[in-house]
């Protein structure tokens, strides 16, 4: 009896938070998505599927997002894994803390400022200017999909590095020696022992980055010169420029549904992989 009350008390703040910050807005979004845009912008209550019928008008934005989010996640993973591996396995313990701090330090500054810095690094006075010194002229980096990718990898790298680092760090190094002892060369040991045991970290990192990328709007706007258009950007424009709340809500609700479906499928997949590997510790 008493324990039950304590449980409820402990869960109270989180429950209230979830209700107010997640469930309530979501209900608003769903209700609004069936409404209509007022002539001067805003929302008129209604019950119509018109907004949903109009979704194809943002097809490109959905397509871009659904291409970028997995690609960006993959790119971040490919860069983060070796880095996390180095930090957890190879780095001299003396420097480890320092190196870890260096991975976190950028987080102390706003993502805005950091992304803005990239505008200058990739802009005409940055890297392309340096390239001119070695005789490579006319390279344009800023406002290209490449710049967006660079910004995304930069911005999301720590989110990917940390979960992987943690799972590699707690990996018992004697398992690697055991594998070598039983006749497995380093690369095979990596494939058969290190990689499977770091899957929980990889799964967490991918999930974090993927979900956040689905709503990303800042980096494409700043480093893509507004020419690379994602759902996040579409939403900003719909709410802040055309003030089409009804349509914006329909787009947002669709994004949430797509996200829920992908994440559920992904979790199932990861759990299956985990089961095959007979490791219950995954996720």
């Amino acid at each position: 009896m008493q324990a039950k009350w304590i449980n409820r008390l402990l869960l109270m703040p989180a429950t209230v938070w979830l209700l107010v910050m997640l469930v309530l807005p979501l209900i608003f979004v769903i209700v609004f998505s069936f409404g209509e845009r007022a002539p001067a912008g805003g929302y008129i209550p209604a019950f119509s599927f018109e907004q949903y019928a109009n979704l194809p008008a943002r097809f490109t934005a959905f397509k871009n997002t659904l291409t970028l989010a997995p690609l960006g996640t993959l790119a971040a993973l490919l860069i983060a894994y070796p880095l996390a591996y180095y930090l957890a396995v190879k780095a001299n313990p003396k420097w480890k803390t320092l190196l870890l701090v260096m991975v976190i330090v950028p987080f102390w500054t706003s993502i805005l400022i950091r992304t803005y810095a990239w505008i200058y690094i990739l802009g005409g006075r940055g890297i392309p200017h340096l390239l001119e010194f070695i005789g490579i002229d006319g390279v344009r980096l800023i406002n290209t999909p490449f710049a967006v990718l660079v910004g995304i990898i930069y911005g999301y790298l720590p989110l990917m590095v940390f979960p992987i680092y943690v799972s590699l760090e707690k990996l018992d190094k004697r398992l690697l020696e055991a594998s070598a002892d039983l006749g497995s060369p380093p690369l095979r040991t990596f494939r058969q022992v290190t990689l499977p045991l770091s899957i929980p970290g990889v799964a967490t990192g991918c999930m974090l980055v993927f979900i956040l990328l689905m709503g990303e709007f800042l980096i494409p706007a700043l480093l893509g010169g507004g020419k690379v258009f994602f759902i996040g950007n579409a939403l900003v424009d719909l709410f802040l420029q055309s003030r089409n709340w009804a349509y914006g809500s329909a787009v947002a609700a669709t994004l949430v549904i797509i996200m829920l479906v992908t994440v559920t499928l992904y979790m199932k997949l990861v759990a299956r992989v985990g089961e095959q590997r007979e490791d219950v510790s995954i996720l």
């Binding site: 912008g41 805005l112 400022i113 406002n143 709007f217 800042l218 020419k227 258009f229 420029q241 089409n244």
Partner: protein, 388 residues
């Protein structure tokens, strides 16, 4: 602005202008930037005198200790706010916004907490229609002397015979071009703007992230009205925009940094930015397309239920004091329609062709229309353009 006129000025402020330039060059918080980030709440509390400092006679009465102003980035002389605080004991809290649409969105959502805001001409009828603003009690703004103001820039503030807004300053939307890259050719039209973008300037042109001007100036290519909502005309504009998009450097209203760094060579541009760029880089030429384009006027207005309305009135009145307003002009670089203020400004500034374009150019310009702002088709067109 050259150094020569400093002695003619009512107040010595050359040093201040230099400071301002530096601030603006390094500034990251510009219109588009705020627009795309949705961060139109960059808030700064103007710290000043402690509340309770003896108020001057002009502002006798209880004004409270705070007033909230929603305005545009780099649009005021901060020294003026400090002076206001000194005189009245009221601290000015400034909320900076990226677009009229965003301001409207915030007021529509309710609970803005603003006392004074700075809408552009074409939005005012919408605010009135939506019942979001109050007619002004002009008795509380003695510094607003209607007869001193150019009616062209004051009239949009009056709706159905009631004054809802008083003029702040005005400007034009043309484009700025780096003449180092034009091979001696002089650009004078919007047609040239779009054509050169597809050829010599491919990858070097910027347009606003903003339907009004980007679509409006594309319409001008065909000689249509800047404000057109005609589906056939919009279809032509869309075709042009989609054709040009691969050649654009960026769709971004924060164009100064890219133009200064040399990455971009040409951009749609407002008066003040054109003036600032031209002062620092003489090769930057401000052009008003012969076909026309936008002329606009910004106002001071008060939202319904402003929490500190007395202080709001005091602030508007203070900023419209010609001596104060002159300082404002020197800070933001936009012309005002107030003859009393102009009398205090240096002659060079009043003759500057960027601030005051030739009459034949001015005559072709159109004020943005309320219908243009709220037209859903134009909004959708811009979304298609951006996502193409």
């Amino acid at each position: 602005m050259s150094k020569d006129y400093k002695d003619n000025m009512p107040i010595s402020r050359q040093k201040f202008i230099e400071e301002l330039r530096r601030y603006e060059k390094g500034s990251v918080s510009r219109r588009h930037f705020l627009g795309v980030t949705g961060l139109g709440f960059a808030t700064a509390v103007m710290a000043g005198a402690v509340p309770g400092l003896r108020p001057s006679k002009a502002y006798a009465g209880n004004l409270g200790d705070k007033v909230v102003l929603a305005t545009w980035p780099n649009y005021h002389d901060e020294a003026n706010f400090e002076a206001f605080t000194k005189a009245t004991g009221v601290n000015v809290q400034v909320n900076v916004f990226g677009s009229n649409e965003e301001m409207l969105a915030k007021l529509q959502a309710g609970g803005s907490g603003w006392d004074v805001f700075v809408p552009t001409n074409y939005t005012i009828t919408t605010y009135v229609g939506e019942n979001l603003i109050e007619p002004l009690d002009l008795k509380q703004i003695p510094n607003y002397e209607a007869s001193a103001f150019d009616p062209r820039f004051a009239e949009p503030g009056t709706v159905n015979g009631k004054v809802y807004a008083v003029p702040k300053d005005w400007g034009t939307t043309g484009y700025v071009v780096n003449t180092k890259h034009t091979k001696g050719k002089k650009l004078t039209t919007w047609k040239e703007f779009w054509d050169i973008t597809k050829t010599d300037f491919s990858g070097r042109t910027m347009v606003h992230d903003y339907q009004l001007t980007t679509i409006g100036n594309a319409l001008k290519y065909f000689g249509y009205s800047f404000n057109s909502v005609d589906p056939k005309e919009l279809a032509d504009a869309e075709k042009l925009l989609l054709e040009v998009k691969p050649h654009l450097f960026a769709i971004n209203s924060d164009y100064q940094p890219s133009l200064r760094s040399g990455d971009a060579w040409m951009s749609m541009c407002w008066t003040g930015d054109g003036k600032q760029l031209n002062s620092d880089m003489p090769e930057m030429e401000y052009v008003i397309g012969k076909e026309g384009g936008e002329i606009w006027s910004d106002f001071y207005a008060m939202p319904k239920g402003a929490p500190h309305s007395a202080a709001g009135y005091a602030l508007i009145n203070f900023l419209l004091d010609p001596a104060v307003n002159a300082k404002e002009v020197l800070a933001h670089g936009y012309p005002v329609g107030d003859s009393r203020t102009n009398a205090l400004l240096p002659k060079e500034l009043l003759e500057d062709p960027i601030l005051y374009p030739a009459k034949e150019l001015l005559d072709t310009l159109e004020f943005g229309a309320a219908a243009t702002l709220t037209d859903p088709n134009r909004a959708e067109l811009l979304a298609r353009f951006k996502s193409a």
